[in-house]
């Protein structure tokens, strides 16, 4: 069963061999190839190259092509402010000065076309991703939800409009629904398997307002996706606890939440509606600032706390740029092989047996010693690539160098890894010194380091 089949079966509520894994690598994809957010989101080749690296290292069952909620807003006239480690921000709102009282106002009517803004780039990368990994990975096309798009267009005045000018708000949401439908049709045309309607602002509105003003627009979007015979998802971030049930009533196939939501409680609700729930590895405290073991531990705890039916494990939202790749790899390994990781974690935290490990005398080696420390190179793709790169030294240098692999899932190697002071796997050391962690070196760089010690 490949990742895409696993995801499709999960959405179809059928049993699967493993829980589905969908890492939301938006701007973080760029980090893997050394591109900042502004380069990544404006250059199709760099975006494609980075997404392929995500696919290679993180082995996702499902993968978003672009996590940028400003695509539509930019086309519709919002000002953009670009950053290096975050998606662009909306810095001006075209409808902000619109007076709703005392004069005839005109809401916009422009619908994005395939040739507008960055859409040609987005659609091209979606097509290339479909051709390259579309057989084995389910691809997510993300559209901006009507509440977030409306707030991009109107600014914070929208929130008072929603009370004082309900009809105008309804008209604005209806317009945003039309925009979303156009975007969805384009994304479906280039082969997206799941359409995710992303609306973080939903967590900030009251359930009462959601029911009265937003139930209709979201229901219409999810109904439209259904008629196109494509799967749907409702992404929210922030504390949307009170809106989980109203969100279920809009009938998406799945809902994704972040760490502000108690997954166990949320799943009780989504299970009543037979809706898939995805989430919610904490982005900052665990993924960005935690250790690889923290990430493994969080995933194991999450898996242990609820039924695996209708469940997807994912980061809480778009991953921060600087998340260490090894943390994502750790989370992935815990999903792919929870039993093995659980045992290894127990040994890591409380060793139950002593191993008589003697580290080599690195100062007096006969020849360069290359040690590659992996989680498990047979299971973890990133570890496999790291190991294969390490082995290329044997091809080039033959017996002039020695290459050894240590798998973390073999218990005595946990102790060795600790003794070496290694925090992140996979890693390569040369003569006992850490050279690469998680990011696999290119061959030229790798051989250059070996040449230094030959």
């Amino acid at each position: 069963m490949n990742g895409k089949e696993r995801l499709l079966r999960t959405f179809n509520h059928e049993p699967v061999d493993k829980v589905v894994w969908v890492p939301f690598a938006g701007i973080h994809a760029g980090k893997l190839k050394g591109y900042f957010a502004d380069e990544l989101l404006t250059d199709g080749d760099k975006l494609f190259e980075s997404l392929i690296e995500v696919n290679r290292l993180y082995s996702p069952d499902g993968q978003p092509v672009l996590f940028d909620l400003q695509i539509e807003a930019e086309i519709l006239g919002c000002g953009m402010r670009w950053g290096k480690k975050a998606p662009p921000s909306v810095c001006s709102h075209p409808l902000e000065t619109l007076k709703l009282v005392g004069e005839d106002y005109q809401l916009p009517s422009k619908i994005p076309e395939k040739t507008d803004g960055r859409l040609p780039l987005v659609l091209d990368v979606m097509k290339r991703m479909k051709e390259t990994v579309g057989e084995s990975t389910a691809l997510f096309g993300l559209v901006t939800g009507p509440l977030t798009l409306a707030s991009h267009l109107r600014g914070t005045k929208l929130f008072l409009d929603m009370l004082r000018h309900k009809e105008t708000s309804r008209e604005l949401f209806a317009y945003c629904v039309t925009v979303a439908k156009a975007m969805i049709s384009y994304y479906i045309e280039v082969g997206m398997d799941v359409i995710a309607v992303v609306d973080p602002v939903v967590s900030q509105v009251s359930p009462k307002i959601f029911k009265s003003l937003l139930h209709g627009p979201f229901s219409e979007i999810f109904q439209y996706i259904k008629t196109q015979k494509v799967l749907s998802s409702f992404f929210v971030c922030g504390d949307a606890t009170k809106n989980i049930e109203p969100m279920c009533h809009t009938k998406p196939d799945s809902i994704f939440v972040d760490e502000n939501i108690n997954m166990v409680e949320a799943k009780r609700i989504t299970d009543q509606f037979n809706i898939i729930l995805g989430g919610n590895i904490p982005l900052t405290s665990t993924m960005l600032y935690g250790t690889q073991q923290d990430n493994m531990g969080f995933v194991i705890k999450l898996l242990d706390s609820m039924s695996h039916k209708n469940l997807i494990i994912a980061p809480g939202c778009d991953m921060p740029y600087d998340i260490p790749p090894e943390n994502v790899i750790g989370a992935m390994e815990a999903i792919k092989d929870p039993e093995k990781i659980r045992r290894a974690l127990e040994t890591y935290e409380k060793p139950t047996q002593e191993f008589d490990i003697i580290l080599p005398d690195y100062e007096n080696l006969d020849k360069p010693l290359i040690e590659v420390f992996t989680l498990d190179s047979d299971q973890c793709p990133a570890c496999g690539y790291m190991k294969n790169m390490a082995l290329t030294a044997k091809e080039k240098y033959g017996d002039r160098v020695e290459v050894i692999e240590y798998k973390w899932t073999i218990l005595e190697n946990i102790e060795r890894t600790k003794m070496m002071g290694l925090q992140h796997l996979p890693s390569i050391t040369i003569n006992g010194k850490l050279k690469w962690s998680s990011i696999i070196p290119d061959q030229e760089e790798y051989f250059a380091e070996i040449d230094k010690v030959l």
Partner: protein, 328 residues
């Protein structure tokens, strides 16, 4: 005004919906600090398309401003930017730091993020609390629309009821009652243009506001223990039993504060009491505020071993009242 007693930077969060007066409050506080002391002040802005403080006239000498890029929309996945901003400001050895949050942001994750910051860079900041600025005229409307506005009040340590001159006496009383129901444990200051002496803010800010024991990832070991004692609305404690409980434990606490429903029948209703006090002198007074349930926050020294004992005794008190409950 005295300088901070330690090298830690005093940190205040400023919340409030668009147009409530957050920026004005910060401007006033910074001006006051610059006029009356040689303080180094920082400002971290986390805005949602609002007019920031950037263009205002301040002495730049002792002011460090950082604006974080949160993707414009509210999005908790951008809290890495918030943390980076705090890390950057930690280099400036500030005396005070104000964080002006986005008008629709939820303060709960922000407090959690501060714990992450402490884990990364140590105890650079001393979190003093969350000031919630309220636009008296528009609060009820925004409350109806935005869940985050309710949470801003719930998580506040001091409420500033701004533009108070724009509502009448009855509206003011009504507003106060609603705020007290959402967060009974904080003080409310009134103002016209957010002109409130900083010293008053410092003395009125409540360090143990509700909701208390929120789940956190890394609880710093030096924080005092906070215990939340609760009883559902159908459990009504007798006055005698509650006073006995208080007499027994009050002296062991730093502070206790909350609302409690006691069995005293007045015109067919049970009576709500407000209890607030430090150690041996908790004051108890009748109140017209009716809460959903009895709720008392107890603050103990971190090493006080009585936390569990108090909770156990409270559990016994509640269950014995349950057995002898009466309907009002």
């Amino acid at each position: 005004m005295n300088p901070p007693p330690s090298t830690q930077c005093r940190l205040y969060l400023i919340n409030g919906f668009l147009g409530s007066g957050k920026t004005t409050l910060i401007k006033n506080l910074i001006q006051e600090l610059q006029e009356f002391g040689d303080f180094k002040v920082g400002l971290l802005e986390n805005e949602f398309g609002e007019v920031g403080i950037d263009g205002m006239q301040f002495s730049q000498k002792n002011l460090k401003l950082v604006e974080i890029d949160n993707g414009s929309i509210f999005c908790s996945c951008r809290s890495d930017q918030f943390i980076e901003g705090l890390k950057e400001l930690a280099n400036y050895k500030l005396d005070f730091l104000f964080i002006e949050s986005s008008g629709i942001s939820d303060p709960a994750p922000m407090e959690r993020d501060l714990e992450v910051v402490e884990k990364i860079i140590g105890e650079v900041y001393k979190y003093k609390g969350n000031l919630c600025v309220i636009d008296s005229l528009n609060f009820m409307d925004t409350l109806e629309v935005l869940e985050s506005v309710r949470r801003q009040v719930e998580y506040s340590n001091l409420i500033i009821l701004n533009k108070i001159d724009q509502i009448n006496f009855d509206e003011r009383e009504g507003l106060r009652k609603i705020l007290q129901v959402i967060n009974p444990l904080v003080n409310i200051l009134e103002s016209k243009y957010c002109k409130i002496p900083f010293q008053l803010i410092q003395s009125e800010i409540c360090s143990d506001a509700l909701p208390v024991p929120t789940e956190s990832y890394n609880s710093p070991s030096n924080k005092p223990q906070k215990i939340l004692l609760q009883a559902p609305s159908n459990i009504i404690l007798t006055k005698d039993a509650f006073f006995e409980f208080l007499n027994h434990f009050a002296s062991q606490t730093f502070r206790l504060k909350g609302y409690i429903q006691l069995s005293e029948i007045v015109e067919g209703k049970t009576v709500w009491y407000y209890v607030d006090g430090v150690q041996n002198a908790p004051e108890i007074a009748k109140t017209e505020i009716i809460r959903e349930k009895t709720e008392i926050v107890v603050i103990l020294d971190q090493h006080n071993p009585l936390g569990e004992v108090i909770q156990e005794a409270w559990g016994d008190l509640v269950s014995s009242s349950q057995n002898s409950k009466f309907s009002s």
